[in-house]
Assembly symmetry: C2
Homo-oligomer: 354 residues x 2
């Protein structure tokens, strides 16, 4: 990569809109800060990123993002501790995964320095916007898309890397009820399921809408061939506790390598919880629900952190999960958020100060 970074320039807004925001009633990802980071890829190189006022993007109608779906993103959070110090959680893993997605989608990879310095500079400018209220954090959305023009179905010659910030509350409120899906699928072997690319999300909306109409919140995807293996939920990886063992499926070219997922595996191991990373069949989960050995199911992802599942539906039958006093989900959520908000030691070296 022949991209060399100069000092990041900062163009500030004349007047902040922070006073219009009610930080005690933040929704998820719907209020944006005063500034954003923009970095253009042109003539085979990334230009130096710039912090500019949050503003509309102007694109030619033939820009390939509108036609051929070259788009990728990451989801991250920044946390403010009681001393007003700001922390990131495993940010280099997000950078790595962004570039893994980039490669699969024929988007040029972005150097670590551009990503990390861009992120830090933007967060420093927006420090006042980072919420300190319980359960809130600064949701960070790095994204890249094809801005180059033309109707030829081939990779674009120009791209934008951007970061926007949204002070946010919880993604899901309360427990979620999920439907194990057997007709629609999320991804193919040899496809793009492991990339965090727009099309993977758009493809889930319709089946999810159908599930919502039946009273569920999310879909649990199964493999597209046999529909017998549990893969992941829409925006989350899935964990299943049978007796006292915590099980999650292996990552593959169909499944996103979730950062929360792998953190939970490490954390559980350290806590002495038995973990298994292996294929899980729907039959096994249904059997476990019937014989009472199924104790918990929960989703794991940056947006939702740990999202307990109250029930799952399969072939027109709903299976309720027990209400546990001291669930793995609540223990793990507490341990991870304690690390994220600097309320505990971080034996893993996950926390990165701004």
């Amino acid at each position: 990569m022949n991209s060399t970074m100069q000092k990041i320039s900062i163009e500030k807004v004349k007047e902040s809109k922070i006073d219009q925001v009610d930080f005690n009633n933040l929704a998820f990802g719907s209020v944006f800060t005063d500034h954003m980071l923009v970095c253009d890829y042109k003539n085979g190189a990334w230009e130096t990123p710039k912090v500019v006022p949050y503003q509309p993007i102007s694109l030619d109608p033939s820009a390939k993002i509108f036609h051929y779906g070259q788009s990728i993103f990451e989801g991250m959070k920044a946390y403010k501790d009681t001393d007003e110090k700001v922390w990131l959680f495993r940010p280099l893993d997000n950078h790595k995964r962004l570039n893994i997605s980039a490669k699969r989608m024929s988007i040029p990879e972005i150097p670590e320095e551009f990503f990390m310095e861009g992120l830090k500079t933007l967060l420093e400018v927006e420090d006042k916007w980072i919420p300190q209220t319980e359960g809130s954090s600064m949701y960070i959305r790095p994204f890249m898309f094809a801005s180059g023009n033309g109707f030829h179905a081939s990779p674009a010659n120009a791209y934008k890397f951007m970061i926007c910030l949204a002070p946010s509350g919880a993604y899901f409120s309360g427990k979620v009820k999920v439907l194990i899906e057997e007709k629609y699928s999320r991804s193919a072997n040899g496809g793009v399921g492991y990339a965090k690319t727009g099309g993977n999300y758009a493809g889930q909306f319709y089946p999810t809408q159908l599930a919502v109409e039946k009273g569920y919140n999310q879909v649990i995807w199964t493999d597209d061939h046999s529909h017998e293996y549990i893969e992941e939920a829409g925006a989350m990886n899935i964990f299943i506790r049978i007796n006292d063992t915590l099980i999650t499926g292996p990552t593959s070219d169909r499944i996103l390598d979730g950062i929360t997922r792998k953190s939970i595996l490490q954390l559980a191991e350290k806590k002495g919880i038995a973990t298994e990373v292996r294929k899980i069949t729907v039959t096994e989960v249904v059997e476990a629900a019937k014989n009472g050995s199924l104790k918990e199911m929960f989703g794991a992802g940056t947006a939702a952190v740990v999202s307990p599942i109250s029930a799952f539906g399969y072939r027109d039958v709903d299976y309720d999960l027990p209400e546990l006093e001291d669930s793995y989900a609540s223990q793990i959520k507490k341990d991870i958020t304690d690390i994220q908000y600097n309320r505990s030691e971080d034996p893993f070296g996950w926390r990165v100060g701004l």
Copy 2:
């Protein structure tokens, strides 16, 4: 749908840029006309489309097109005959397919009147731009995407339907060499392969780049489970002639229901060419290449019309196809383009005058 259409308004450019265009050297989809059609979906309804000067689109950085891939499109052409009369080819089929794609991607369907009247009005305004030069046509790109804002992974509440026009020459020049792909896949059972959505194209770019580096022009996709069944090429459906029978795979939820594909089947039948719509295995094609019964392979699609394949690669072996004097590909291409350009009778009722 509670969308009611008023009269389409037309805002003309002050000065046309048509004089800057060399109509004898048109590339594919890289020169755009003076105007475009824009139609907004807001508050649960499509507003009346407008013809406006071709201009950049302005979108919030959180617009869902950048993050969640809700985008669909169609490819069509307008043809000018020697009397300067303009013709479309099966335009209602494009409208139908756009709405099939829309439903799968949770995008609101657009009424036929909005699509057809919008298209006709725009083409009338741009009549001078429709090329009459041999082999050229007006490439028409209707597309729809999520313009609504927010980082929640759910369908947007606002969309844009647009049509842009690009006077264009041939998509491929010359014969293409294809690679039968066994590692990467285009689509999953129960996925979005049958929808003309951006992500289906972006996902093909990287495997296609790898094929191009090995000397091929395109990839022939196989099923994601066994890689034994031939599905389609990137921007084309595939036809295979064994002896005197023309074979193409059945459409499915993984394969685009190509308008050129189904036109070829009807046309071949009328010409007395035996056709078969059935699954084709790679083994069968390789055997046919070895024993000499494989006579032709060609791609079919709006952009390329009929695109003869000169050779295919499979497991590091290249199989050349014979050069035929009066190939089905050339016969069919002539018959279809004669209908499209009003050079022959149209017994099928495919041609629609503007």
